[in-house]
Assembly symmetry: C2
Homo-oligomer: 377 residues x 2
Amino acid sequence: MLVQHSPEGPRTPGTATRGETVPTVPPPASTAAAAVDVTALLERGRTLATPVLRAAVDRLAPPMDTVAAYHFGWIDAAGNPAAGDGGKAVRPALAVLSAEVTGAAPEAGVPGAVAVELVHNFSLLHDDLMDGDEQRRHRDTVWKVHGPAQAILVGDALFALGNEVLLELGTVEAGRATRRLTTATRALIDGQAQDISYEHRDRVSVEECLEMEGNKTGALLACASSIGAVLGGADDRTADALERYGYHLGLAFQAVDDLLGIWGDPESTGKQTWSDLRQRKKSLPVVAALAAGGPASERLGEILAADAKSSDFAAFSEEEFAARAALIEAAGGREWTADEARRQHAVAIEALHAVDMPDRVRDAFTALADFVVVRKR
Amino acid sequence: MLVQHSPEGPRTPGTATRGETVPTVPPPASTAAAAVDVTALLERGRTLATPVLRAAVDRLAPPMDTVAAYHFGWIDAAGNPAAGDGGKAVRPALAVLSAEVTGAAPEAGVPGAVAVELVHNFSLLHDDLMDGDEQRRHRDTVWKVHGPAQAILVGDALFALGNEVLLELGTVEAGRATRRLTTATRALIDGQAQDISYEHRDRVSVEECLEMEGNKTGALLACASSIGAVLGGADDRTADALERYGYHLGLAFQAVDDLLGIWGDPESTGKQTWSDLRQRKKSLPVVAALAAGGPASERLGEILAADAKSSDFAAFSEEEFAARAALIEAAGGREWTADEARRQHAVAIEALHAVDMPDRVRDAFTALADFVVVRKR
């Protein structure tokens, strides 16, 4: 278990300003990190990885290549080329950056970046089907457009392809990288199993929520943050430290995601207002608020228990969701989650200290961690 | 493409005896092979692999461990221990035998046997869901008992676990074995994609059917037949030759399966009479009969085209299926498929000649090939 603290409910009562859409964020971890051009770092990862990713997907037999291209946003449902929102591309940026830890060129991390993206997208395809989610990045999900069988099949194919792009390098390092990717994939699957089982439960503890988020988000970011270094020949101690950075970065990322899922500005996130509340997600602010005790926490518990049985839930007004969000905040769930993002961010930065690397690379890792906790989408 | 011949429809008209339930089989490939105790060989593979397979499955987080145990037949739907029909266990027998090619102990092939079984069962879990199959080995399939989400999730977990049991060996050989397993897995997925797309088509050529069966059955038997040798340190030339043996053995296996799917004795196969015809499967005898030309072939084409549109199909009588089987046979589809099993069996045996191995091991490979084409279930 990599989580470095044992949460005992909110440490401070809810004091964050209502209506504020951005979580409280830490100051930049260093002035050097503040000077890093994060947009350029993200762009570099995307530019290096995308052509190789597309070439890998092109290897799939029809119609799987088309279904995958739709999923990645390269074509629309009718098969016409599309610009596509490739997402934030934090994972490829981390993978190519991690290659530089060993003194290798960023290009050495590209097969790792591509493998991680393939495994990430395998999990999205399967999770969307299991969860019955009809939309992803403002588009119909694959199972909605191409049917459940294609979502299963193409997910499987991306998973296999992820291993293939690494193993075909044929090096000892590629074998080690694949082993770490497999460990991350198993964690990803464990996290989804937990997520499914929690849906059917009234209460989920803060520890359970953090473990699930560590599996679903932390494990693959851990792999992304180390895989380039592994391919570049880093020893296990270095790779483990980079994984620790990525794991806690993932938990910080997820805490911010959970804040945005409730209080995010729809203009920035592209999601509905109170998005996670509409989906009755037991996300970190909710779970922390329920664990906090006190009048607001108890009232929230009663309301959410009633909501779980309510058949009118789908017709709830903006005001009803806003009232729930206010209760979560009053119980301290918002503040605790913002604190949690800061704590995880600090642990991630701390993990970098164990690794010898060029200052430029360390600053870039630090800047990416800062970016993750200040982002608005 | 490993298929060594280009079928041009049936070579001889249908002359097999009607009502016969066993396909025409070749004589044993050698007297030494005839003396091999195949039952003991299969039992050895099962005995060596099963405890390691169970230990691997036990690593899965709940409830995935339980769902997987149900799938393997180790427990029933209520969670009580069950004897379970583990199947014929040809794959584990081949994997441990292949280790002996290199002079290693059969035990050296066990992680390979387990990895192949895990990947095989991943594909069964997903295929049953994609195909909507409600029964496997006389039991409700996982998606029927535990729901579609668990079938997807546990399938994914078995896939990942298959890679894990190999990669955790941490050797160069394990990396090579995982690469070959990944190639086989990709073929498996390609085969399922073809199978799904053929369902929606009126006509499938003999070549397309063989390619699909090579992907769905040949590729993983190829991997099973070589993976122990790879783990034992065999060079690529040796591994490739053993893969060729396993690939053609897989095609022979599938040809016999396709015969049993129509003319098999329900007492032996445990399936309904005319099982594949009831499922409108475009199996090898059907496809060969349609490709043959002549009056029976044409009449069969008309009848199957009408069946495809018929809403009464589910209520067809024994006699109606028997009439279709008779037409397939009259058009030469049965004879061609039995010939095909013999041809593939011969190519498999031939592939063994390229490999230097102890006579005892060669006889065992030969005996397993003989077994595959004479089996009645």
